[in-house]
Symmetry: C2
């Protein structure tokens, strides 16, 4: 039988101590981590980046299929992704948790295991947070800090016409992973004896449950000596993000359907579940790939990077953000936005 | 009739734009606020302080008596209080909200009005956040940054034996305010025609609903040329906080019952509701006053500050944290901690 220790046996301060004891500081810029009224950070003469994300049970995740370890990892990764999207290096995170007594100490340990693995992978220090009861579901609020030299920070509003539009990795997988998980959940609820059939959907399922921030691409771009002219991470789908870049930069865009990188498994799962793979890529969300623009002169420097795909270019007319389809016709890119309400 | 605009009419991006438009940046250190993947902050060569607090409906506040405007103010104030407790100057906040569709746009506007008034008072910039749906109640997660010169930061673990223990303002009021509000709520639920009787409890009620961070005291101490030897803000009650300072500094403490500052109204309300005023001060919580220690040599420099009271001194024996009662007997200071679980 599994051990179950009630959170009340540990108490809030006990839980904080437990987290503190399992936390190793990695960055010289972290002067003081958990254990005082605030953490103390040095910025070593660089600019500080800060971003925050709120994950709420029943809205952002479903514990009936999201393992707590993956969820902890994801909470850190999606925040790190925002620092990547500024061309920064992540340094610290704070993690606040709202917990109902449904959760045991062992469950919280699992969540923190995922958080700590992500902190190792992305080389960030856990420096603080808050723990609280919650009347309802699990609430995870993460704030991340990062550093960047002033002239290396990449904003959303600085793309220029003729800049080449690039994307990392492939798109639509996380959305199809979510659909596959939802489908299996319904099957399971209808017949608890059914075995889940997710073996051939492993890639898309993992993209949904345990996404990665593309810090590897940030390092590749630095090595190639390229600073993007604008950048954003793809949390709400390619359509929403290209519209953000265009609206804020005052540009239009031409994208090409046949350039959009979509994994074979995304195609297979989309076909099986009656979704359009292109719609998954455009509006699916949660891919956490990077969408960025570069000067045409920089193309030679990045073309060897296998995980970067050029998908179009910026244009001068802000009224026209369009995708040229395989058929040759151009259709306007639109997005309902990712309306959570 | 009051206007009611559904959040869905605005959408997440609409809500973010609305917040952005109502936000004026005040600090030269805020390079870029809301509107990109992360905010960009300069630290002007100082150390960065960061702290975060999570407020959850039904645990930290009850909307049946907490006006949204006050709640917004309080969410900022309790975070600023953590920066004050490090002897820092607050600079920026991020605010994340989990909202159910029970809330209208007008309700969120009220909440942000309170947030913005607090940002004005404490001279902090709202630089980012996240908005999300919530299946259940309102969730507010605030992260605050602050700056301090390296040699001015005050930690919890640096008090020395014989240091004088000081406290700002008065204690126990916020707790008695909460008890008064809870009592009135029960009366109202039993008989909705009853008028609330809170006129003579205005001070304690406001201390609960709209606490202030004692940045004024931080400025007074700076003017007096005094850097405390240790400091913490009183969120969980004097007992819990002095135990934190002693445990982390490796000291004991002698406190004196007759020195503990308690407001007359706190006495009156405590007596009416059958509470001990001293217990309210020791274990009540949410006062957000500052508890700090100073070197004996510095006493002359702070004794003119009317809102600072000396309540005891640090001792060498870490096993003895006690309060000398008016009767002359000494009793051990204990705290159940503020166990939310």
């Amino acid at each position: 039988m599994e051990n179950r220790t009630e959170l009340s046996a540990l108490g809030e301060f006990g839980l904080i101590r437990r987290i503190q004891e399992n936390t190793n500081l990695k960055n010289a810029e972290t002067i003081k981590g958990i254990g005082d009224d605030a953490a103390v950070l040095s910025t070593a003469g660089q600019e500080l980046l800060i971003s925050t994300d709120l994950l709420i049970e029943g809205i952002h995740f479903d514990l009936s299929y999201a393992p707590l370890r993956h969820l902890g990892y994801k909470a850190i990764a999606v925040n790190v992704s925002d620092i990547a999207a500024m061309n920064g290096i992540p340094k610290q995170v704070t993690v606040s948790l709202g917990l109902s007594n449904r959760f045991s100490v062992e469950a919280i340990d699992e969540l923190y295991e995922g958080i700590q693995v992500a902190c190792e992978n992305y080389k960030v220090d856990l420096v603080g947070g808050d723990t609280s009861a919650s009347r309802s579901g699990l609430v995870i609020s993460v704030t991340v800090t990062g550093l960047a030299a002033k002239d290396e920070i990449v904003y959303r509003n600085t793309a220029k016409p003729n800049d080449i539009i690039c994307v990392t990795g492939d798109l639509g997988a996380a959305f199809m992973g979510l659909q596959a998980l939802e489908r299996e959940k319904q099957v399971y609820l209808a017949n608890p004896d059914m075995k889940p059939e997710l073996e051939e959907k492993d890639y898309v399922v993992l993209r949904q449950l345990k996404p990665e921030a593309r810090m590897d691409m940030i390092h590749e771009l630095k090595e190639a000596g390229v600073i993007p002219t604008s950048m954003i991470d793809i949390s709400d789908g390619l359509a929403s993000e290209i519209l953000h870049l265009c609206r804020q930069s005052g540009t239009g865009a031409n994208l090409f359907e046949d350039k959009i990188p979509i994994d074979d498994q995304t195609y297979l799962v989309a076909t099986e579940l009656n979704f359009s793979p292109l719609t998954a890529a455009l509006n699916g969300g949660e891919d956490y790939e990077l969408l960025f623009t570069i000067r045409q002169d920089d193309y030679e420097k990045i073309k060897h990077i296998t995980d970067i795909t050029t998908i179009g270019y910026m244009t001068a007319d802000p009224a026209t953000v369009q995708m040229v389809m395989k058929s040759g016709t151009a259709v306007a890119v639109t997005s309902p936005g990712f309306e959570h309400f």
